[in-house]
Symmetry: C2
């Protein structure tokens, strides 16, 4: 048995995971940005103890504990650097966790954990090489090669959301202009719908949001498009074009066996894939070879917990 | 001792290479596009025999023979697919070679061989993870992970020249618009200079080409820029911007320890790096981590031979 911990900005979630990547139970506590790594590790260890207590297990029955979190996690040194969200600079996560629970935890970036989870027991199971992207507030990604996470020589790679696809285009949070994230995150989809409604309010999107533009989210735009709303279909058509260009770029570079789309947008399943597949297949430089299979994620928010639990398997 | 064969469109080159990746001698014969794989393998085997004869060695002293060529080379099955230049569809290269020389050859894509060569005894030696791009007629690339070539699940990956950086931009030979290759190959650099000269002929580029626009090549544009020619400097400045955006994209995704720039443009060495480094470092999403080192290639046209020879080491 293993424990995976997903350390996010708004909560910490931990779960008991079998050696095959099956999640047996989980527990979540609220958290918040701006807290110290000492506090976060105390809470994480406490969550582990709660999981053990609830399941009637003891720590000796646990093979591996892993923690997934934003930023560049150096599992060799046990330290994490995350200047953007957690404001951590080279903090000793492993050492700190051990002060609360005597266990040698594995650490990894959260998007990489999600990709590992999907590759072991999710949409990419059975493949050796896969890429999983998460379309949410931002666009995160993880690369699995030969069944293992690949994140570059300094654990800071697979930032594929920060691949420019429209030179000089929309401003991205990273400082560059035209990043894939600025066009294909769920945030970008919503922003695009809001812009469209400024010109044409007579749309199912506006109705579904009860006339309150601040209530628009990705799902609502898909719902409106499924009702054949022309504004939603136009917004989604443009969104899919951008998403397809970025996916084709990544396929041309990495050529994974399976490409998994996760996050809120990925929950649209076959509806999304039916829009996306014809676009991507037009763009991929496949040289006449059998190509990458596109899938939507299967593990939802649990992918990160499962992947974290599998780090030490 | 090993033999590496570089099978190109205009010639076949083969070399004797030590186990450390040192090229001891090479031999080249002219070739041409449109020839059958049977003919090319007969010539390749003949070149091997010539190398052995000239060096006074026999085949029993050879540890590995590798062939690098365009397209997707499946080393597991010994077959190659290259619809674009060689017009090969799943042809049995290994089996055919054996008809002429009783040896189990390794096969690989030529850009991947160049990347392996640079990683073993060239600019990226000593690193475990590197990317090498070749800026010539097109923009080819190879990815080395843990000292080995990575080319995706079907041997068709690392086509990084076909990453779109300017959506809807310049037409690329692959059918997409705005590929990195269409902005950062040596061909694209020359085309950009030709366009600039259409507006302003009073340029050192025009003089160095003897007034004949068809004589302009990449080196000549660099030569003019070094003489402070404003047209050349403007063309080169724009070219470096595109090159830097693509390099930053690849670094954000792969995060190699070393990024090597080869081909004719790479021969500009420090002059190129001094233009490029400030641009790339502004664009990389490094999360506060130590970043990728940019270098220019050291092995020139021999990189492919050396890499091919090292496939079976």
């Amino acid at each position: 048995m293993n424990i995976g911990i997903d350390l996010g900005g708004s909560h910490i979630a931990a779960g008991l995971v079998t050696n095959d990547g099956e999640l047996l139970g989980k527990s979540t506590i609220p958290s918040s940005l701006g807290r110290s790594y000492e506090d976060l590790m105390a809470d994480s260890a406490e969550l582990c103890r709660k999981l053990l207590y609830d399941s009637g297990m003891n720590i000796g029955e646990i093979k591996s504990i892993g923690i997934g979190m934003p930023g560049a996690a150096n599992n060799a040194s046990g330290t994490v650097t995350c200047p953007s969200t957690l404001k951590f600079y080279n903090v000793p996560i492993r050492e700190e966790f051990r002060k609360h629970l005597d266990f040698d935890v594995q650490i990894e970036n959260d998007a990489n954990c999600a990709a590992l989870g999907e590759s072991i027991s999710g949409a990419a199971r059975g493949s050796q090489t896969s890429v999983t992207i998460t379309l949410g507030t931002g666009l995160g990604g993880g690369i699995i090669i030969d069944g293992k996470i690949f994140s570059g020589f300094n654990f800071a790679g697979s930032e594929m959301g920060h691949m420019v696809i429209v030179l000089g285009g929309n401003q991205c949070s990273c400082g560059r202009k035209g990043c894939w994230e600025a066009y294909s995150s769920a945030t970008a989809l919503v922003e695009s719908a809001v812009r469209a409604l400024e010109e044409e309010k007579n749309s199912e999107i506006y109705k579904l949001a009860g006339g309150d533009i601040s209530k628009i989210n990705g799902k609502l735009i898909f719902d409106a498009a499924k009702k054949c709303d022309p504004v939603a279909q136009k917004v989604l058509g443009q969104y899919v074009t951008y998403l397809a260009e970025g996916i084709a770029n990544i396929i041309n570079i990495i050529m994974p066996e399976v490409f998994v789309i996760g996050g809120g947008v990925g929950q649209q399943g076959d509806y999304l894939l039916n829009l996306l597949e014809p676009e991507v297949s037009k763009l991929v430089y496949d040289g006449g070879c059998p190509g990458t299979t596109l899938k939507t994620a299967e593990l939802g928010n649990d992918a990160g917990i499962i992947g974290a639990a599998m780090l030490g398997r």
